[in-house]
Amino acid sequence: MINLADRPKSKRVQLMATCLCDAFFDDVAKATVEVLEHAGCEVVFPENQTCCGQPAFNCGQWPAARTVMRHTAQVFAGDEPIIVPSGSCAAMMFHGSTLEFEGERDRAEIEQVGGRTWELGDYLVNGLGLSSWPGEFPAKIAFHRACHTRGTASGPAVLQLLQSIKGLEIVPFGEGEQCCGFGGTFSVSFPNVSTAMGELKLEHIRAAHPDFVVSGDMSCLMHLSGLAEREDRPIKTLHFAQILRDALHHRHGQATH
């Protein structure tokens, strides 16, 4: 078991960009770097990083998942905090890994890496001690709490920062505790259930009329905007890191997906 309270808090950090940002959402990774730098961090990007292995882990294909996780643990060797702009990948690092390495001889090494991993919002508030964020972002947003941040400090941390931004209004919407329906490979192996879940989420969000749908996980936003675009009723989505970055520069919503 990893004790999250024991994670390092130094200002030199390693960035785990996530495979989705690597492939699709480069601006989210850039925003993450700029936000961390604004908070006084030195950001190191280990070039050999790939993925946390969660797709294979969630399918039950743990040998494949362990292969990827072992590589990731090697790439992120060291003592610095590892910062991830995704609650899902972060949870894979500090929780999923402990399951998939039960009974494995190198479990301790894997847990050393998991025990340094922070989701971005959690790190800004509970690692660096920030309680507010400067700047301005005059817009109405719907904040979708990604499921993998349930029971962690990430959700409240991100909300705290967003609420402190001048001009930003967070609009509530129905059944907020419900999943967007992505669930990784669940979205392709259970396409009917996944799509219906996403459509319900979109219905609630649209009823709240936000300017942007915001989350700390691009996977949820990719699912929701993919559904909305297929319906020809596109929505504007942003990672909260993009809002934090744009608030600093007083530009709002230029970097939507």
Binding site: A64, R70, V193, T195, G198
Partner: protein, 468 residues
């Protein structure tokens, strides 16, 4: 034209596509309303409901870790109060124990209150085969029984039925002309049931808890039907899963406070009965005989597995109500007695050597964790679903629609290959993806678009900053 190569389908996903929208809507409305009530009530009543859930979880886990001690102690306490304790290893043993007790007492008619373990062991079928009439007295269970149906929810067995369905069933059973007014239906059921209570020689119940220190058996209901079952009966038979034992009466303070709130959004159910043995000189009412049949039916196997936490379950159904998949699928989709998240873990485990037939159930989850968040005994359901997915993979159970991950493992552990893939992935934007025979991709693209490829852009930006 979407993808033309058909992909094998997950049974639950197919079931959802075919479920009538009226059923889906009814299930969704009812479960969403109960979930909202549960969040509200726990939040209003307790300063830290989460801490209470964790405490309840540790009480249940402790009881399971020391089940050998507490089960023996419960037996002693029950025996000291005059009850007779039976142990049943299998479902057949449990059914046989019940018929033997009934036959010895010359009883041919029984009434039952709601009990999931009796569903699990198919007790009613067994009793019918032995010429014993068994009538369900919980209104929902009675409707399930007359329809030859199965419960679709742990707490609300007829969540999938409309009042019109029920009115038609009552008409068919000769309980009056068609009338779908809930009050009329209930009144008719009550009149019918009261006759049955008086005719019956035995009342069969389950138990929500049995305490080891005093041998108290706890029953919670909202209809008071279990009291009616026991009041005129000569014999009381309680079928109890061995995992239902808790150390002491004081544990009930925590567990009962959570059970009603989690199950139905009630602070306490309308009736909470504490049964303390059969009729005795100092307790002149109640059945003359009380039998407690502790049922294993593979629970010890679950206890020995890496999914033993599922035995903490107190059958509140909160995980069903909050589960987005259950809300779409309803209970019958799970093809087993226990549906929803708890069923997706418990049913394949209780299936024993038929594990493979139900190995798809743990896949029917986005792993959103809402089930764990609402669980009154803090069962880490998503972790258990993952362990069962792993077990299914190890046992080579085919998993329709799940991509093989060997290629991903190679990509994910070879950074040069990964980086090339990031660059060449851009080709996807120039390919007619929705016409390509890649089933997993087709499944995504049928209802969703993919974002534009931006592979390698962030890496280039990061590099340019380091050089400047």
């Amino acid at each position: 034209m979407p993808c033309t190569i058909a992909m094998a389908k997950q049974l639950i996903d197919t079931y959802v596509a075919e479920l009538p929208p009226t059923v889906q809507k009814a299930v969704h409305q009812s479960t969403a309303a109960t979930t909202a009530k549960r969040y509200q009530l726990l939040g209003d009543d307790f300063a830290d409901a989460d801490a209470l859930r964790k405490l309840a979880g540790s009480i249940r886990q402790h009881a399971l870790e020391h089940l050998d001690t507490y089960l023996a102690r419960a037996e002693e306490s029950l025996t000291a109060r005059g009850a007779k304790v039976h142990y049943a290893v299998t479902a057949e043993d449990a059914c046989r124990a019940v018929t033997e007790i009934l036959q010895a007492a010359g009883i041919t008619k029984v009434v039952k209150s709601k009990s999931m373990v009796t569903e699990e062991i198919h007790l009613n079928d067994h009793l019918a085969k032995h010429g014993i009439e068994s009538v369900e007295s919980d209104l929902g269970e009675y409707i399930v029984q007359i329809d030859g149906d199965h419960p679709s929810h742990i707490v609300r067995p007829i969540i999938h039925k409309t009042r019109g369905d029920i009115a038609r069933s009552f008409e068919r059973e000769g309980l009056g002309d068609y009338n779908d007014d809930p009050e009329t239906i209930t009144r008719r059921a009550r009149r019918f049931m009261r006759g049955k209570y008086l005719e019956a020689g035995a009342g069969i119940t389950g138990a929500n808890f049995v305490t080891a220190d005093t041998g108290r058996l706890v029953l919670v209901t909202n209809e008071g039907n279990s009291r009616f079952c026991l009041a005129p009966a000569k014999v009381h038979i309680a079928l109890v899963g061995i995992e239902k034992v808790v150390p002491s009466d004081s544990d009930l303070a925590v567990l009962l406070n959570l059970l009603g709130r989690s199950a139905t959004g009630q602070q306490l159910t309308v009736y909470t009965e504490f049964i303390n043995g059969p009729r005795r000189p100092d307790r002149p009412s109640g059945p003359e005989q009380m039998h407690v049949v502790f049922v294993d039916n593979r629970r010890t196997e679950v206890l020995a597995s890496d999914c033993k936490e599922i035995l903490r379950c107190i059958r509140c159904g909160a995980c069903l109500n909050v589960c987005p998949v259950y809300r779409q699928a309803s209970g019958h989709a799970y093809r087993s007695v226990y549906p929803g998240p708890v069923g997706a873990v418990l049913s394949p485990l209780l299936a024993g050597d038929k594990f493979q037939e139900l190995a798809d159930l743990p896949k029917a989850s986005s792993l959103c964790g809402a089930c764990n968040e609402v669980c009154p005994v803090d069962i880490p359901i998503p972790d258990l679903l993952l362990r069962l997915r792993h077990r299914a993979h190890e046992e080579h159970v085919p998993s329709p629609g799940t991509p093989p991950m060997a290629g991903f493992a190679i990509l994910g552990s070879h950074p040069l290959v990964w980086r090339s893939a990031m660059t060449f992935g851009a080709a996807k934007d120039y390919l007619p993806l929705d016409k390509m025979p890649v089933p997993y991709l087709g499944s995504w693209l049928k209802t969703r678009t993919l974002p534009k490829w931006r592979g390698g852009k962030f890496r280039a930006w990061m590099k340019s900053r380091q050089h400047s």
